[in-house]
């Protein structure tokens, strides 16, 4: 067997996996996006139909056109991208010092500290969000504490605000930021910082000129790992966010479950996916090209 064939064989399994669990479902979703809503189950008309004794393909572009026309959807997209970007940035600001501290901690402390970062995953996500409701609501723990301390005189509206939503997203996605950052920081050669100091760079300049640029791949990975799921996030804005936070996840949910408009929901999902995949693919291609150089 030639080397090329053996390589193909090794690649076959992941390719098969991608085909079955990613490409096929996406193809189904995409096809529904071009269907027409109809009564029944599933609530859309098939794309291939017998018309006058001939099999014809009927594509419906109205769903996609609606997305472009109705600013309601465009606004939801833009808001989602903004919320996801801000959340990823917040995770970066909180996560970077954490990752740096863990990477610089004595070796025997690193694994326990990393476990602490991942520990929340061992509890149900919904339970943890509900706990935040308990903390943030008007009669909640935080307001109670602030009232008791005399900092405020009346309860603050914390729950169902943008603040609560960002807090929830940052809290939930933080490990996805910390882990790749840690991975890129821990493998940096400590001698580089010695060399920078030796050549006259005070600690803050060593950080800006050595540590930060070398951790860029970790920053990008962490940012994407938070940003991508945060764009489609439904539960946190729904449970913690205000009514104004019409994110794409909530719109999708409404179209799919309440309006039972599967084609429109599918169109929404397909556009979201393409909007995310294309820039990332472009970025990957550029990054890989730079590494080859």
């Amino acid at each position: 067997m030639s080397a090329a064939r053996r390589r193909l064989l090794v690649l076959l399994l992941p390719l098969l996996w991608m085909a079955v669990f990613f490409l096929a479902p996406f193809a189904i979703v995409l096809s529904i996006a071009f269907a027409e809503a109809a009564e029944g189950l599933p609530p859309y008309a098939p794309l291939l139909r017998w018309v006058d004794g001939a099999l014809t393909l009927q594509l419906n572009f109205q769903n996609l056109a609606l997305l472009a026309e109705d600013s309601y959807y465009l606004d939801a997209y833009l808001l989602s991208l903004r919320v996801a970007a801000i959340s990823a940035l917040l995770c970066l600001l909180v996560g970077y010092p954490m990752a740096l501290a863990i990477a610089r901690a004595p070796e025997r402390w690193r694994v326990p500290l990393l476990l602490l970062v991942i520990l929340p995953f061992w509890t149900s996500f919904l339970l943890r969000i509900t706990a935040w409701i308990g903390i943030l609501q008007d009669q909640g723990w935080l307001n109670g504490l602030l009232l008791a301390l005399g900092v405020i005189e009346a309860p603050l509206q914390l729950l169902y605000t943008e603040f609560a939503m960002y807090l929830g997203i940052t809290y939930c996605y933080l490990p996805f930021m910390v882990l790749p950052l840690y991975a890129s920081l821990v493998k940096q050669d400590p001698a580089l910082l010695d060399a920078a100091a030796d050549l006259g760079a005070p600690p803050w300049r060593s950080f800006l000129t050595i540590t930060l640029p070398l951790s860029l791949p970790g920053i990008v990975a962490g940012f994407l790992l938070v940003f991508i799921p945060a764009v489609g996030e439904f539960v946190i804005p729904e449970l913690l966010g205000g009514p104004g936070a019409q994110l794409i996840g909530r719109v999708l949910w409404t179209e799919f479950f309440q309006n039972r408009d599967w084609p429109l929901a599918s169109a929404l999902a397909s556009v979201l996916l393409l909007a995310l995949v294309l820039p990332i693919a472009l970025f990957q291609w550029r990054f890989a090209g730079e590494r080859r150089r």
Binding site: D194, A195, A197, D198, L199
Partner: protein, 382 residues
């Protein structure tokens, strides 16, 4: 004495009692938990020296170097550089630069940016940095490599860039931490000469840490042999090799056969030392460092010994022992014979391979006599 003749033009300031040392280390002590890495080290180094710290792992040589760089804070003692106390000076303000063992080149910067890094920290202008980088590239013969990334360079080229980067700021003191340990033998030797050459051209004071005695011997003006956090001996390579002050330095720098004995008589020429292991006397030249009647160790270098076939029944004499050849190592340019004396003591004798012959003058299991001149017997003070 004038051993290992000084390089042409180089003075020997350490012999001048009036000369002010450039670097003074006084009582320097560093502990890591229970481990004493440096134990009250005193050392003076003069301007323009190429000083080697030689020792095994754990001897404290790297700790001493890192104290000089300011990367490790000593527990006690002082470091004075050009009259200035370095205690309160953080590493990034010391006029000291280091060539690191792994080179520690910044992987995300090209060669020119690596070399210019130190100058950028000083806020030097672009033009100044560009000129100095070009000058450094020329110094290490790396012109045209400015735009390369460190991972596009060979090991030897990386070493040159690391050296150029460490010299770019014109440090008062250049520290080199095992700078050539990553290079293969031939490249290492070539780079050694080049380092000495660059040191002489720039006039910078170099302090190098190494575990490679050949490296220390060939490059250094003076060296210090370190043992468990202390300086076992300080001197020129010739002094330390010819006049080791202890069993440790005698065996660490080069190899030595160590014989034990008692100073039995002082003669006009030297001393007669009775071997305490065998029935023979060791003759030495000059006045022994210990008085009559004391127990001493005598070191004899393998290359100072002669070996020849002996007749059955041959016996020990003054500076002459008899044994059997257990093993012969052929190095091409010389032979090493391992000779076992009666009772199991083993001597190492090396002989230059002077003539091309196919038959060995001395063979395995031959009965041989090993002898040496009185001046080859070094009576150790410790």
């Amino acid at each position: 004495m004038n051993l290992a003749a000084p390089r042409p033009g180089s003075a020997e300031p350490w012999r001048d009692p009036g000369a002010e040392p450039f670097l003074q280390i006084e009582g320097l002590t560093k502990r890591f938990g229970d481990f004493v890495a440096l134990d009250r080290v005193d050392l003076s180094i003069w301007r323009g020296e190429f000083f080697a710290l030689l020792g095994g792992s754990g001897s404290g040589k790297s700790t001493l170097l890192r104290c000089l760089a300011g990367l490790i804070e000593p527990d006690a003692g002082r470091i004075l550089l050009d009259g200035q106390d370095m205690a309160q000076v953080p590493p990034y303000r010391r006029p000291v630069n280091m060539m690191f063992q792994s080179y520690a080149l910044f992987p995300h910067m090209d060669v020119a940016r690596n070399i210019g890094f130190g100058l950028r920290q000083e806020g030097a202008s672009r033009a100044v940095i560009r000129d100095r980088v070009a000058e450094m590239l020329a110094l290490v013969r790396m012109e045209g490599f400015g735009a390369r990334r460190p991972d596009e360079l060979s090991g030897g080229q990386r070493a040159r860039v690391a050296l150029a980067r460490a010299l770019a700021k014109r440090p008062k003191l250049l520290l080199l931490d095992e700078p050539l340990s990553a290079l293969d033998k031939n490249l290492r030797e070539a780079t050694q000469f080049e380092l000495v050459n660059i040191q002489e051209r720039t006039g910078t004071t170099f302090v190098i840490v190494t575990h490679d005695q050949e490296e220390a011997m060939t490059m250094a003006t003076r060296l210090a042999v370190m043992d468990r956090g202390t300086l076992a001996q300080v001197g020129t390579p010739g002094e330390v090799y010819e006049f080791p002050n202890s069993r440790f330095t005698a065996e660490f720098l080069g190899t030595a056969n160590i014989l034990e004995g008692v100073v039995e008589a002082l003669t006009p020429a030297g001393a007669r030392i009775g071997s305490s292991e065998y029935d023979f006397d060791i003759l030495s030249e000059g006045e022994p460092p210990k008085p009559l009647g004391s127990r001493v160790f005598v070191a004899i270098r393998p290359e100072r010994m002669r070996i020849e076939r002996a007749q059955e029944g041959a016996d020990f004499g003054d500076n002459r022992v008899v044994g059997r050849v257990r093993d012969i190592a052929y190095f091409g340019d010389f032979f090493v014979y391992y000779v076992v004396l009666e009772g199991g003591k083993e001597l190492r004798v090396s002989q230059p391979n002077l003539r091309r012959i196919t038959e060995r003058p001395v063979d395995w299991d031959d009965l041989v006599a090993v002898s040496w001149a009185p001046e080859a017997s070094v009576v150790l003070p410790e």
